[in-house]
């Protein structure tokens, strides 16, 4: 936990609107709820502080339209 607090800088999440088709996958499977959908269904970063920088949204985006900058290193994330 100490490591997490040391590195607590809100990440920079880029959503490339021109390629996004608003399918909702990134929002539905965000483990911390940092993302949300607006009234048109498009994703936006609701709470950047909540982002765990896991990069799952980026992995699962079928349109390569979302990017999380300064992701943590694999070891720091623990688990898998």
């Amino acid at each position: 936990m100490t490591q997490a607090t040391e590195e607590k800088k809100p990440p920079n999440i880029d959503i490339y609107k021109a390629w996004c088709k608003a399918c909702g996958i990134c929002v539905a499977f965000c483990p911390t709820g940092a993302l949300a959908r607006d009234e048109t269904g498009s994703p936006y970063v609701k709470d950047p502080e909540k982002c765990a920088k896991c990069g799952l949204c980026e992995l699962r985006c079928p349109d390569f339209a979302i990017t999380v900058h300064e992701k943590k290193e694999r070891q720091a994330r623990g688990g898998q």
Binding site: A22, C23, G24, A28, L59, C61, P62, D63, F64, T67
Partner: protein
């Protein structure tokens, strides 16, 4: 753009029309990401890789990536790939097919490519339906489900592609889902590195046709279904058979070393060239 997205952009053909042609939330996009990440991790040059596809939604995939690509006729992707591999054994030949392409129209090619153990990688996107042509049932449509040609429910039983490949003699068989994107990355990497016929079955969803007709919801609900019904080979070993009833296995289903067709063929060529005769 950073890390994953950055490297994906390295391999995309930016003169093509983006966003791509697939429906919002389609699993083919997620599979394409996994494919590119696996190729990048191994470090193949763009010119070293040949991507061959047949017809269908998945047939559009090679259009978007900057490798040697070939878009062939329906069900015949494996035959074109066999020709490429025999003519240029140094190339890494990857075949991307849909379920209709691989086990319906190209079913015979598939089992014989596996039997021959020719050094190809077949990536089969199994979305249980013919998506592009209008949602007709395919050999992987589960029993009792609806499609536009089985409106009174499907009375046939679905092919299990991975199990078929294991029986037919493929050297490597793995099954993943588009929900488990990280596992899929790893499976593809293992399949590419394997000498011999390697198969990766990718369980995906077609919410536009199959999902809509069977009221399974959108891409999110169908991904949740994959999450809830996929069991890794490791966890399945600890589960009772009755718990596995409505589940399917993901992970490496077969990994074995068998004589590879391309190597054997080369040996015969060398022997014939040296004039050693048939008995040597």
């Amino acid at each position: 753009m950073e890390e994953f997205t950055k490297l994906i952009h390295k391999y995309l053909r930016h003169d093509k029309k983006f966003p791509h042609v697939w429906c919002p939330g389609c699993g083919i996009g997620i599979m394409l990401g996994a494919l590119i990440r696996a190729i990048d991790r191994i470090g193949y040059e763009k010119d070293e890789v040949v991507l061959v596809s047949g017809i269908g939604c998945s047939g559009r995939l090679p259009v978007y990536v900057d490798f040697n690509t070939l878009h062939t006729t329906h069900g015949r992707a494996l035959t074109f790939a066999t020709g490429i591999k025999l003519a240029k054994p140094g190339l890494k030949v990857i075949v991307v097919m849909g379920d209709g392409d691989a086990v319906a129209i190209g079913g015979n090619h598939f089992i014989h490519a596996a039997r021959r153990n020719i050094d190809l990688t077949a990536i089969i996107l199994n979305n249980s339906v013919y998506g592009m042509t209008g949602g007709q049932y395919s050999p992987t449509t589960p029993f009792g489900m609806r499609s536009t040609t089985t409106m009174y429910t499907n009375i046939e039983h679905a092919f299990k592609i991975s199990e078929l490949a294991v029986t037919a003699g493929a050297a490597f068989v793995g099954r993943g889902t588009v929900y488990h994107a990280k596992l899929l990355d790893g499976l593809m990497e293992k399949a590419f590195l394997k000498q011999g016929f390697s198969v990766v079955e990718v369980i995906a969803h077609c919410h536009t046709q199959y999902g809509k007709l069977n009221r399974l919801g959108g891409p999110v609900e169908m991904l949740q279904w994959q999450r809830d019904h996929a069991v890794t080979v490791e966890s399945a070993a600890r589960m009772k058979p009755e718990e596995m009833e409505d589940k399917f296995l993901i992970g490496v289903l077969a990994d074995r070393d068998l004589p590879v067709y391309t190597e054997q063929y080369e040996r015969i060529r060398q022997r014939a060239k040296a004039g050693q005769g048939k008995d040597a």
